[in-house]
Symmetry: D3
Subunit: 155 residues, 6 copies
């Protein structure tokens, strides 16, 4: 096996996917922002309006998915056909899940991971005045469908 993005001489390249089929593909990724108890209260709206906090992260994640080829040097530009972000507040974290769909020549795992990462960064930005120690963790692909390698889900 090899790193496909690096050619035999070691040079980075955007891999040629012209021969791959245009098929429906999806990917789902998740991640988590660990925050202090005081942040949980604020995000749940205890004593103050929770307002736009989660909406801001959700929209940032959706927009982040579209910026993936601008950010990740060797990613192909893709025609995204749908992006969904789910954020939920647990007792010690904000849980984030992103589902991305395309009908194109490559998978959308990177778009889903980027959506989760940008949403997570946005959560940190909003809570950092209250909790400097917030941590983004467990950002990973959960499952994908479509494409030549077929369906896959994390075991």
């Amino acid at each position: 096996s090899r790193l496909t993005h690096i050619d035999e001489a070691g040079a980075a390249r955007m891999v040629d996917v012209s021969a791959k089929d245009v098929t429906a593909r999806t990917a789902r990724a998740t991640g988590r922002v660990l925050v202090a108890p005081r942040v949980i209260e604020l995000l749940r709206g205890e004593g103050v309006p929770k307002g736009d906090a989660l909406a801001t992260a959700r929209i940032a994640g959706i927009m982040g998915a579209k910026r993936t080829p601008d950010l990740i040097p060797l990613c192909h530009p893709l025609a995204l056909s749908g992006v969904k972000l789910d954020l939920s507040v647990t007792d010690d974290a904000v849980e984030i899940a992103a589902t991305v769909r395309t009908t194109d020549r490559t998978g959308v795992e990177m778009e889903a991971l980027t959506a989760v990462s940008v949403a997570a960064l946005t959560v940190i930005d909003m809570v950092k005045a209250v909790d400097k120690e917030a941590v983004i963790t467990d950002v990973r692909v959960e499952e994908k469908t479509g494409g030549k390698s077929g369906d896959w889900s994390r075991s």
Copy 2:
């Protein structure tokens, strides 16, 4: 305490920082991409040229720092005066650290975290054909200097 980015009615806003001083500020953030043993071998160049793999992630991280206000909705555009990314390969992970400097009215914690996240996503993009299960973890601010709240480091 309150989420400063959300006003008293719950609406998201970019907080007015005009009254803050222009001072030298730094932030350092770290993170880690957990990868399979086969990936560690490839990144160390065992049997194949390791080539541009880490350089690609390093450059993506530096460019990512500059895109922070485009990605994080309520972040202020800042004049970055320096960005440094360090990547190292351990036995089970790629460790990433970013140091960002500015002389401006707000801190650069978000720029450092974004640099780490984009570098981490780029690592995943390059190894995903070999290791679908790679995970980004422990993305967090380690220390900051400058600004009204002064120096801080994670305890």
Copy 3:
């Protein structure tokens, strides 16, 4: 009826269009910048070269159409196949019309409206030293063709 961009729980999302057909689609939008008589004279080149003024707005509008998915959070990225901007100077306004074409899964109304808006903002930017009171008005879709809902024109 419902706002399609908001799911049943109220969360914003980029609607899944994978099931929609790839067809030729067009949209035409118009708008108007109301300006002072002195601006009309300058744009008509009375006494000074009118030079690049309208060309600058035209090009800004074309480039703005391409930036639509970067600006409008829930818009799909689309493969635009043609963009045309028409600007004309009347006795009290700059009239703007944009025609956008695609062969893709969603319509291009938003691209046409964005092209008109960015061209209109560019006109204001160029005249604002002479006329602080310029106003953008009547930005709207005039007609569309293609897609499942078929042709439509404003009554």
Copy 4:
């Protein structure tokens, strides 16, 4: 008087502002999206969750303000120090107001107008499946403070 963005030969240019003072400046712009009664009900949450609709437009407007120099060809890049978007639903329209602050060499009228325009386009995007006839109107600067020309408000 002349169009300052066009030189004596008619060529567009980004005007040299190096000699202007760095001072605190603000601008406030407003605009309106005229919508059908059914849309008003949906945005007020009658019978369905209004959810993220207004938050999405608010965030798009804030992000749009930051993109101004990317969109308007002759605008200077500026260090924005604050952006606030207010949206309210009246009986026949969504009213939008944007207040932008900077401490820099040029005013922020264009940033305020761009914020209003992008928020207005985002409203149209969300309601267009229900109301094809929505119109953006009355986008204009209301007042500005700071800079050599001093304070100004629309009469």
Copy 5:
């Protein structure tokens, strides 16, 4: 013959390509950065680590190809399916070649030229402290394949 991007009235436009076929297309462009002997030594790693210098230019070129429609006003956004940058150091220059592939309605000559130009600018940026006189020269299309006009190579 006419400049296709300018209509009969002289107005710039993005030409309508909806009637063109979606076919596999490639383009190869080359260029050269002329540098001082001391730069050649540094890029060859004589006495110092050459490190990421060429990798940085290579990655900038790949990312630049993806930004082509953002930079060139009348270029269509395209689904790039592969980008490859080759840099080599000769006795007095850095030679750059870019190969770009797509399966779309227009050619990718501009994407290949943009990749070469951005890589060349990045080389200059890295050597400019050592050699202020570096020059970018001979940036040109070498060959293209696909599309209605068929294959072509510079004579």
Copy 6:
């Protein structure tokens, strides 16, 4: 001497400029697009309206200057205070000159070179249907003023 953008271990970085003075700085760069005689006639408007051709390249160059830190990985984001593009048609070429001004901590040579390159690419895009063999050549810095290293002009 060393490549300043590469540290002692060979890693690319954005050099820390916090200790540099904020001073007025300018840079002027030039370049040339060699074109066929038929293109010269078209650009001079012989027999057809020359229309927006040169304006399009001029505006693309101005906007390109603002995108420099997005394109060149190790460039600092800068507050540009003025950009001027001059294009002229000679007997066998389009001559391009860009003058960029800032009041900041680093020079604007890269911004001037990027403005020239993007304007040159835009010229090629507009003439490529008539002249496939156009070549960008002699893109180089002519002079700079300001900063610690002081004024410099090409000998």
